[in-house]
Symmetry: C2
Subunit: 470 residues, 2 copies
């Protein structure tokens, strides 16, 4: 895999910086191999490139110190949240220091009247929602994994309810970050709206640690809905299910979640969770609102689904039944892996205009079958985003190469449909070859100009996001 | 006004570029004084600094040519949409070329299934919505003026229904822009979600022409709501009205618009439009949804408002009556001006966390009274954004100076409340002194680094947004 070639290492700089940092941080600098490998590894299928040391930061001022020390010696710094990235974001191709933010996990303030919270980056989304429970508020972005909110910000994560509540970009009011110079940047006031200067918030969100190290986030919160209703139904084809989704969105139905499982995913969850869902494409929905509102939404959805040949429509507001219905979706990843014991999953992440979704999913299924892959599909179909989970024997180099070929083929197909190679996982190392194909040379030029302007020494997460390594 | 000092002019470069551009564009380059002044002027109260010439671009390729010619001779370029900016964005403090985009006004594609449209930047929001009418879709961002969508993007405009539909940032999927090098950048695919690289879309949106000249926009559209309901009621105080707004937002009521008029604004519209609304703070609302949904929303709002002492609550779905209720808001600017015939309006634009809104509005009213200003207040209160309209005799230098002092005082008050000096009008020239106070030196450093990286010759709209002029 050419794009995972190691980059040149600044050996003397790394050695000196390690000495200085060790004096500064004592036992909070660690160099044990297992810990370093864990900090490079993450859940990705990509080759492990561990950092030279892991440091556990405890304050913004300390992050500034660490950055200044690394800048003095031109040593790479890679931020680490919970390690749930899928695209090699935390690998260290040029070596350097991994900053682990897990000890910066304080919730600094909750403002119920303004419906926002100020937190440190190591807080996980589940920890935040547990903390918020008594306020009647919650933070809606849910990528599945219990990721750190700093990591979710750095990769612009989203997930199942982005169709209603948006992505991390839509739910961060402001942040503070340490620049490669060690200077601190506050990107915005706590107001809900601003036109004050460049949108540094949304530039740093999704920049994958290449521009700034996030040390504080001000998050937009939502009211826990008064009522929640869940629904499922089966469709004769992926096309029919996608057509129903388009009709739902056009109708303006404010669905909180609308997820597709293809027939193979349904088979997987039936086996894994002891269910007996019909072996055909399935939509799972969640509605949030007032009791009357969710009932109306569920009824409207039922009518729309029926027009597209849906069967077995079931909706419920009872928590137990809702959980049972959603079990299928929550188990999909592990259920998929269980289809081929011992296999590792490689997840694609394309996102296309919704009108092209059925065509894209159908072509992907056919191609996967033609190439001999077992590859269940799940999708955040309200946004046009879906994941093909290729079940791969990582010991079989030829199979891994074929998987890479499939991923590339699907990325190019999505790009040809005016879509993106990544709806929510980010570019990292895994998709760096596709960014230029998707956006053309002008975007790469502009991204490189921004990177050079902000990080002239290229010490923040080098070798990621198709940025130049010079 | 120190911040409107002229910048050094590159006389020989401007003269040469004008010659070359004239040969290239013929009569589409104009140098008449009235036209130049109109292109520097806009609706702002700031001093007019006209460009040396106005060119009317007709295609993206032509914009690239113009930029290359200006770059060759280091001549400033200022983009011009409809001239409705309030903060001096289109002034030419170092001279140069104004590019007028009004002839790039084609709607290139509408994709009803994907609910998006691809347009040129000179299309105005009203023209787009007329074009869309038969599709059942509309573009929601409404700043009041019939601005060009390119200009609305460049300043991150919003307006009355941002509380429901968001700002320009939330409603632009992708754009193409010409960089200062003449290179073209496409910022994103047409998918609804992406994590592919830096968010160049949202970096260019709100960058006020300092990073790229927008030549194409892909806009997110919404379904025209099945039912619309309007409501008004009066409150005993601004505090009571703001408390009701907080309760509405916390409840999660999806209001499409929620606007405040203070008692003076009510007096102004009564006089201007022959109404007889009670002379106390007024909230005006609009609800969008299904017939049942808007009825439910209106009823819930009525209950909440009553808890905070509201009187005279009226809600209606009939278009005629809705228009009558909203007349007050639509007329507020002109009605305000009519309070003092011959006066010019200077509009503030602060936005604060909603919990601080009542305090901020009340202090602003008291300060304006203390300083002897007639100053009606209107506010997009769901977002914490409000405008004080100072009615000023521009011939009275002392009064203008006092108005500037008031604007500065209010900006600093909002900043002290963790708010912003600009919720939707932008920084331009008028607020450049406040950006650093609001965000601190780190943000200015990062913005300057981005600007230097993308526009090393500083030819794109120099002298705006507190960016360095070196």
């Amino acid at each position: 895999m050419a794009h995972l070639a190691a980059l040149p290492r600044n050996e003397s700089g790394i050695a000196t910086a390690l000495d200085v940092l060790r004096q500064r941080l004592g036992p909070r600098l660690e160099t044990g191999q297992a810990l370093r490998e864990q900090h490079g590894h993450t859940t990705t299928w990509l080759v492990n490139q561990p950092p030279d040391a892991v440091v556990f930061a405890q304050s913004t001022a300390e992050v500034q110190d660490i950055v200044r020390i690394c800048a003095d010696h031109q040593v790479p710094i890679i931020p680490f949240g919970a390690g749930t990235s899928l695209e090699g974001h935390v690998n260290a191709p040029a070596g350097g220091i991994s900053i682990d933010f897990s000890q910066m996990n304080k919730i600094l303030a909750v403002h119920p009247e303004d419906m926002d919270a100020v937190i440190q980056p190591g807080v996980t989304r589940k920890a935040l929602n547990v903390h918020l429970r008594d306020t009647g508020l919650f933070f809606p972005v849910d990528p599945g994994a219990d990721a750190s909110l700093g990591g979710m910000a750095a990769t612009n994560a989203s997930g199942t309810n982005a169709v209603r509540y948006g992505t991390m970009k839509d739910n961060i009011l402001s942040l503070t970050a340490v620049l490669p110079s060690g200077e601190l940047v506050k990107t915005a006031a706590r107001a809900r709206k601003t036109s004050a200067g460049y949108d540094l918030t949304r530039l740093i969100v999704g920049s994958e640690g290449t521009l700034g190290l996030i040390t504080e986030l001000t998050l937009r919160l939502r009211g826990i809905p008064e009522a929640v209703s869940a629904a499922t139904c089966s469709f004769p084809s992926v096309q029919a299910a996608c057509d129903a989704v388009i009709a739902v969105i056009q109708y303006g139905l404010p669905v909180a979640r609308i997820e597709l499982l293809d027939a193979l995913s349904v088979r997987a969850v039936n086996a894994y969770s002891g269910l007996s869902l019909p072996l055909s494409p399935l939509l799972l929905l969640e509605f949030h609102g007032s009791p009357g509102g969710v009932a109306e939404q569920a009824a409207v959805f039922g009518d729309i689904a029926a027009e597209f040949g849906a069967t077995g429509y079931a909706a419920t507001t009872r928590e137990e039944e809702r959980n049972r219905l959603w079990q299928a979706r929550h188990d999909a990843y592990w259920a998929g892996l269980a289809l081929r014991p011992g296999a590792k999953g490689i997840s694609t992440d394309v996102c296309v205009p919704v009108s092209r979704l059925a065509d894209c999913v159908t072509q992907a299924q056919a191609k996967a079958a033609e190439m001999g892959f077992m590859a269940p599909v799940v999708g955040h179909v309200g946004d046009g985003n879906f994941h093909v989970l290729l079940l791969i024997d990582m010991a079989d180099a030829a199979e891994v190469a074929r998987a890479e070929a499939f991923v590339g083929w699907l990325n190019d197909l999505a790009i040809a449909m005016d879509g993106t190679c990544t709806g929510e996982h980010g570019i990292g190392q895994g998709k760096s070859a596709y960014l230029g194909r998707e956006l053309g040379p002008g975007a790469l030029t502009m991204m490189a100009a921004i990177k050079r302007g902000v990080d002239p020494l290229n010490i923040f997460n080098p070798g990621k996001m198709a940025l130049p390594n010079g």
